[in-house]
Structures are given as C-alpha cells and as structure tokens.
Symmetry: C2
Subunit: 179 residues, 2 copies
C-alpha cells in the first residue's frame, strides 16, 4: 500500500541532530523523538524486521543499553527470542566473556553460556552504527559460541566512520544513513 | 480462550533462580530464559499491557538498562511512544535531572526536558521490583515535569523488600511475585 501512512512516514523527520555532543565537533543523531512517537517507533521496528522476515532468524541479540530498545520488539516482530549482551558483572549464570580493543583501551562484553546453540542464526541489532567496534565484538562473540551472524541491523549508520567495513563480511542494513 | 497455549503458558517456568548473586545470601531471579523463548517473551509483553489497554496511557517510560527491554514492546503493544530514563551524561538534549538517595550514597536519573507534556499519563515499567528506589525516583521525575504516573508495571516483584510500599500511592502491578 504505497499510499498508506506507514509507507510514507519519513523516519528521518524524527531524528534530532545535536551539535557538539558528546564532544566538540561531533554531530549527535538523537533518536528520542523517534522513540517518543508511537507511529515512528512501530514503523522503525517493522522496517528493521522487513529484510529478515524470510531469513530464518533463530534469535535476536543486542548489546546494552540502547540496543535493548529495538531488540525485544524486533524479536517479537520476527517471532524469536532475545539474548541480551551485557557489560561485565551483570549476568548471573555461566558466561562467555569477550574482551575487545577500542581506540584507547579495551572493553568487555558478556553473554550467558546457554544463549546461542551451535548453528543458530543470530540477528544483531543496535540503534547506531558508528565505528562498529561494539557490533564487531558482538559478531565475534556469536561466532565463538558456534552460532552464525545472519545480519546486523541498525536504525542509523554514520557512513563516514567505516563501521560497515569493520563488521564485514557480515552484512549490515541501516534504515537511515548520514555522512 | 482458556485453553489457548498463551493462556496456559506459565511465565514462572522461564525464570531461573540463581543463589548468591550478586552477593552471598541473595537469590537472583534471572529473566534471560524468558527473554530467549519467543512465546514467553511475546506473552510477557501482552500480559504487561493487559491491565492498561483501557487506561488512556500516553507514553511508556523506563530506566536503563533492563527496563528498556520491556518498555519499547510494551509501548508498541499499547500504541504509544517510549521515553528512556537514563543515567547521567547519556542524553544529548536539554534535560531534567533527578538525584535520589540510595542505602549508601545517591544516584541520578535524567530525561529529556521535552519527554513528558503536562498532564500526560505515563506508564512506567521495569523487569524487577526490589526495594523500589529506582522506580520511586522515576515517579518523582515524571511528577516534577507535570505529568501523571498512571501505573508501574513489573515482570517480577520481590514482595519481601517493600518496594510496592515505597512506590505508593502509585499503583504497581507485577506478573510474578516471589517472597
């Protein structure tokens, strides 16, 4: 239905651009107006799901905290469960930890050891693809556990920061792209 | 449909109890098996929404990080938007900050200044009601901004910790209760 309200809803209209956050020279893309609008929120989840409806996704996973916002509704939309990828010390059961390098220093992500079964097809999601460091770590964590990365979905991609290349060969899809 | 699969699904079957986490003597109620199960996740969101379908909810709000998991799908289920309540320094736009006392020390929550309109009916949600400190702070934050707390919804309530009393007179609802 090309003339339905949802098909013509411009998600970009709900992104607020804020200069110099979190530091001077950075133009921050704020998703809170999109979250606050019922139609935009619903449509975002629907459009995140669309490319994966026939992709045999077994589970959706996301890193805290903003990844959690889209992961659970995306899982429900695709009829799967959701696996939270967390910062250290948050998960109570047996865990797999994954330490990864950042520009300065390193960071660690954790998932429960029973999160992914061997061969499961995992869809990873986050609100923003910037340098791709966190998503790359999530992909590696999924693969170390014997599961497969079926795709990496984002609401926003900052194309100038090389994130998609850093995540390759895993395919990325983004609803909105900014230089 | 009392015999439908969803009506008979026991959410408690998907909660894993883990002794001595995060510290000795604490029995942690782990929701990750519930999140991982597609039917349980979907049913949890449906049951969280049920009491509020005719409650004229304008917006759903939740504090990071685990509150985010249920807030966005609950907002979609109720046809509203979602407002994230965040830890300091995360939100880029004009903010309201709220500092609240904990057993030892204090903590701060922030929301964007344009998050709630005066008189809006806000449904707050979190995965767990323990002592209620964070939810109480969220309620106070909503009210300081001139909006109304229409309810506080939880997946799990630890009834022995007095959280519901701390949040009163705001009404709480929990899908699962443990002593």
């Amino acid at each position: 239905m090309p003339n339905s309200p949802s098909a013509t809803l411009e998600l970009a209209d709900f992104i607020r651009s804020i200069p110099d956050f979190p530091k001077p020279g950075v133009l921050f893309r704020d998703i809170t107006p999109l979250l606050a609008n019922a139609a935009a929120l619903r449509e975002t989840v629907k459009r995140l799901a669309d490319p994966y409806r026939d992709a045999s996704i077994d589970v959706v996973a996301a890193a805290e905290a903003r990844g959690f916002i889209f992961a659970a509704p995306l899982a429900i939309e695709l009829g799967t469960g959701f696996v939270p990828v967390r910062k250290p010390g948050k998960l109570p059961f047996e865990k797999h930890s994954f330490c990864y390098e950042l520009e300065y220093g390193s960071d660690t992500l954790e998932v429960h050891a029973d999160s992914f079964a061997a061969g499961q097809r995992v869809l990873l999601v986050d609100d923003l693809l910037a340098t791709g460091g966190t998503m790359r770590a999530c992909c590696q964590l999924v693969e170390r556990m014997g599961a497969l990365v079926a795709g990496c979905a984002f609401v926003i991609e900052l194309t100038g920061l090389g994130g998609a290349k850093r995540i390759a060969p895993h395919p990325t899809r983004s609803l909105l792209k900014y230089d």
